[in-house]
């Protein structure tokens, strides 16, 4: 015995063991650090790619509001002004953007401006109609290719064929930069426009409103049904096979892949019930079914947390069981339920696959105004932009992701606030 475990051997063994202990702890630490590093790297990638999208490039243009070209008189009515020939004004302005442009040059120059410049000119004119027959310096939106070049997202020292702007256009670009006519401005279009084929005009307003309508539908359906189901299961359900079936179903639905819910929406809601395709109504219904387990689990937990003495007190005062539950238990369980619901809504906000299945992936260039109108949703908008080949959409994608993350963060913050403010410890 004494020989086998000499003092040195024991010390050696202990060293080895504690080294193993430290190693093991380090593995854990490394894993945690990796997880955190990935999170920060992910956020960094998105912010670094997306922040530039909040600025857009504008070009200063001398626009001559000549009454001959516009084909209106100084005392034209508003309707006549709206119908005036602004595209001709735009054409002239672009043709004279730089001196001595040939016909071919003008064509190239035109491609450096956003397609809707005439509308911008028109808006400016309608706000200040007394500028007729004057020349104004207007800041008009540049084409996405110019925008990307200025932001440095597009490389200029590569072959001409691989560039969006050719050599001549780059000369124009440099001239604009040199004369200080290329400026950056807050990108209002990103917040006020719906989707567009042109990156410089595309915005998230349409998909944001679509997501809002979808979430309202989710809330209106899932919140009452979730509370109802929880009350039934906690208070009224008899202990039998069917109750067990319901419990198993709720647990399983929480883990069914979201795309399967999309197939349910397509196969049943669209094809059997004939719900209108691509609308927040269908999207919301499908997402409500998905969110239901989250809400039910939260609501049941908070119903359980209400002390039985409260219900018993109500019963002792002669309340019926229904009254005891609805007048006393449910109000006390509501903050917890609401917290769970907001977290469920946050999940629903980021869900993409089911919405694609029910057709909310269509290109919708206008902002929806109702639950039964075809619309996009924020995550689907992100998907559409990711898939889009144009460079200008990449920063839009990152910016849209920033917006969705901000919304998610806000929703979770509200949930945490509600929990800390209203949750009671018994």
């Amino acid at each position: 015995m004494s020989n086998q475990f000499s003092h040195e051997k024991i010390i050696q063994l202990r060293k080895k063991r504690s080294a193993a202990d430290r190693r093991f702890k380090t593995y854990g630490l490394i894993a945690t650090v990796i997880g955190m590093a990935i999170l920060f790297f992910l956020l960094f990638t998105i912010f670094s790619k997306g922040y530039s999208s909040f600025q857009k490039t504008v070009i200063e243009l001398d626009v001559t509001f000549d009454q001959e070209t516009l084909k209106i008189t100084p005392n034209a009515t508003y309707e006549e002004q709206v119908e005036a020939k602004f595209f001709k004004v735009k054409k002239n302005a672009i043709a004279n953007a730089l001196p001595d442009l040939s016909k071919k040059d003008i064509k190239l120059m035109k491609k450096m401006f956003s397609i809707n410049v005439d509308k911008e000119i028109k808006e400016y004119f309608l706000q200040n109609p007394n500028i007729l027959n004057t020349t104004q310096k207007l800041l008009v939106t540049a084409h996405s290719d110019v925008d990307q070049m200025l932001k440095g997202n597009a490389k200029r020292d590569i072959e001409e064929k691989k560039r969006k702007l050719n050599d001549r256009q780059l000369e124009f670009f440099d001239e604009f930069v040199f004369t200080g006519r290329l400026k950056s401005k807050f990108n209002n279009f990103f917040f006020t426009n719906a989707d567009s084929r042109h990156p410089e005009l595309a915005g998230i307003a349409g998909s944001f409103v679509g997501s809002l309508f979808t979430l309202i539908t989710v809330f209106l359906l899932a919140f009452p049904i979730g509370i109802g189901a929880s009350i039934y299961l906690e208070e009224f359900a008899p202990k039998n096979k069917f109750t067990e079936l319901i419990e198993v179903n709720i647990a399983n639905l929480a883990a069914v892949p979201s795309i399967v819910f999309g197939l349910l929406g397509l196969g049943i809601l669209l094809n059997v019930f004939g719900f209108p395709r691509s609308t927040p109504l269908v999207g919301g219904t499908v997402l409500a079914l998905m969110t239901l387990p989250t809400i039910i689990i939260a609501c049941r937990a908070s119903l359980k947390a209400v002390p039985p003495s409260i219900k018993e007190g109500a019963l002792a005062m002669g309340a019926s069981k229904m009254q005891a539950v609805f007048h006393h238990q449910v109000p006390l369980a509501l903050p917890g339920t609401l917290t769970g619901t907001i977290i469920g809504l946050a999940q629903a906000l980021g869900e993409t696959a089911p919405l694609i299945m029910i057709g909310m992936i269509a290109f919708i260039p206008n902002i929806p105004t109702g639950f039964t109108e075809p619309s996009a949703a924020l995550p689907v908008q992100i998907y559409l932009w990711v898939e889009s080949a144009e460079r200008g959409f990449q920063e839009k994608t990152a910016a849209a992701i920033m917006m969705i993350l901000i919304f998610l963060f806000l929703m979770n913050a509200i949930a945490v606030f509600l929990r800390s403010r209203f949750e009671r410890k018994w």
């Binding site: 997880g35 992910l42 883990a255 349910l264 004939g274 980021g350 993409t352 696959a353 694609i356 998610l408």
Partner: protein
């Protein structure tokens, strides 16, 4: 139609409520008997009888209206003129013409006539829709108002109705499952009438293009899903190789080593990682990880595809880390303290305690967490849609391009859908496979976790 009927129904039940309340108070005053329940309960009773029939009519109408109108229109349509026409295409055309004049240009006269017919039926139908909602609401109120006697125990009946409603709410979960199974089964059966089950499950060639013209070269579409299953499996393996060690070690660190302060900081951060929408991970995979994998592949002399299984799998693994870590964390925390103390008490150090005592005790729960992670990896859609390939490819090389079940479902259902085309229907067959596999995994995992919890409670 939706808004108007909503307004009609809301106004209807409101007036029913007012009516019921005033009627019962006047009744009880006349008879000089106190009511058995509070007057509100009578009013609610009337309201329920007003609402229910209206809802039944509403849903019945929106389900059957379209079908009936279509049949009426088609019955009047003379098919002899144009026997080649497909009924469903025809009805779509008629609807388009009826909806807007811009479609009407250059259409045959019989289509224009049918469109006019369609529009007139639609008009009559919408008027009679509102009328019948109104009528059933009034009938319901009339029927129920017989019960407006002071002796009627309205509260009991209302409470019973509420109980039925609560029961219905909790059955929604069951109905959803039934709906999923039915929609998947029904369309899959149609798919399997064209393609044999055997070919689908064991065939190795996925080429879901049915020739448009007969006798086109390379004519037969083929639906062997093995490459798709293999691709899904490959990406899942990559993902689990990332997620399991990192997730498990994070859980061990958080549960056993980290101070409460560190825990308080790290746990919410992990929750953020869990709450990031999967499309965001897809973007991350697409713009950052995939190019990185490609350059990495080149540096070690492998020609990586820009949509490699490795990139999609790595990012999917990142997505699953918080899932595994939080589930395992729970499991490790619920191992009884006495086991920990017993092991430390006989001289084992922390690492030995964890490796020899805690992990074996927590193993079932960890396996459950792992299986749930696998189920999520298989069912995950957006990451692979964005970052993985679309071409079926039977390979075990993670640098190559593979496709997954979910990607194929999305591809089949984006764009034009024709529900008599096996290409569209194949999505439902794939969905069925996905559903069955994830269901088995979930039930199995949940059962393990539950058994494990019971053991220590």
């Amino acid at each position: 139609m939706f808004y108007w009927s909503l307004i009609i129904i809301l106004l209807g039940i409101y007036s029913a409520y007012i009516f019921g309340k005033s009627r019962i108070t006047s009744n009880s005053r006349q008879l000089e008997i106190k009511t058995a329940s509070l007057p509100t309960y009578y009013a609610q009773y009337i309201m329920v009888w007003c609402l229910l029939p209206a809802l039944i009519v509403y849903f019945g109408w929106i389900i059957f209206e379209d079908q009936i109108i279509q049949n009426l229109v088609l019955a009047n349509f003379d098919f002899d003129l144009n026997p080649a026409l497909n009924a469903s295409l025809l009805i779509a055309e008629i609807k388009n013409v009826a909806l807007s004049d811009s479609f009407a240009e250059g259409k045959a006269i019989e289509i224009l006539n049918a469109a006019e017919h369609y529009a007139s039926i639609k008009y009559v139908s919408s008027i009679s829709f509102y009328l019948s909602i109104l009528i059933v609401m009034i009938l319901g109120v009339m029927f129920a108002s017989r019960k407006l006697q002071p002796s009627f125990r309205a509260q009991q009946s209302i409470e019973n109705y509420v109980k039925y409603f609560l029961f219905f709410c909790s059955s929604v979960a069951v109905l959803t499952t039934v709906g999923i199974v039915f929609s998947l089964l029904f369309e899959s059966l149609r798919f399997f009438s064209d393609v044999s089950v055997f070919e689908f499950l064991f065939g190795t060639k996925w080429y879901p293009y049915i020739p448009i013209r007969e006798g086109q070269s390379g004519s037969q579409g083929s639906f062997g899903a093995v490459p798709i299953f293999a691709g899904t499996f490959l990406i899942m393996i990559v993902a689990m190789c990332v997620a399991t060690p990192i997730g498990l070690f994070t859980a061990i660190y958080l549960a056993e080593y980290a101070s409460p302060r560190v825990r308080r900081i790290i746990k919410p951060l992990l929750e953020i990682l869990a709450g990031v929408p999967t499309i965001v991970y897809g973007f991350f995979a697409f713009v950052t990880v995939a190019p990185f994998v490609k350059t990495f592949g080149q540096s070690i002399g492998i020609d990586a595809s820009p949509t490699s299984a490795l990139a999609a799998g790595l990012v999917m693994g990142i997505m699953i880390i918080p899932f595994i870590s939080s589930l395992s964390d729970d499991v490790i925390n619920s191992v009884p303290q006495s086991l920990r103390e017993g092991s430390l008490g006989i001289g084992a150090n922390k690492a030995e305690t964890i490796k020899r005592v805690i992990l074996p005790a927590a193993l079932p729960g960890i396996v459950g967490a792992f299986l749930l992670g696998v189920s999520r990896a298989i069912g995950e859609t957006m990451i692979v849609v964005v970052a993985a390939g679309t071409a079926p490819n039977l390979t075990a090389n993670p640098f190559e391009n593979v496709t997954t079940v979910t990607v194929q479902i999305v591809i089949a259902l984006i764009g034009d859908q024709e529900f008599d085309d096996p290409r569209t229907l194949s999505a439902f067959a794939l969905g069925l496979v996905l559903f069955v596999i994830t269901l088995i995994l979930n039930i199995f995992a949940l059962r393990i976790v539950k058994k494990y919890r019971e053991r220590y409670e």
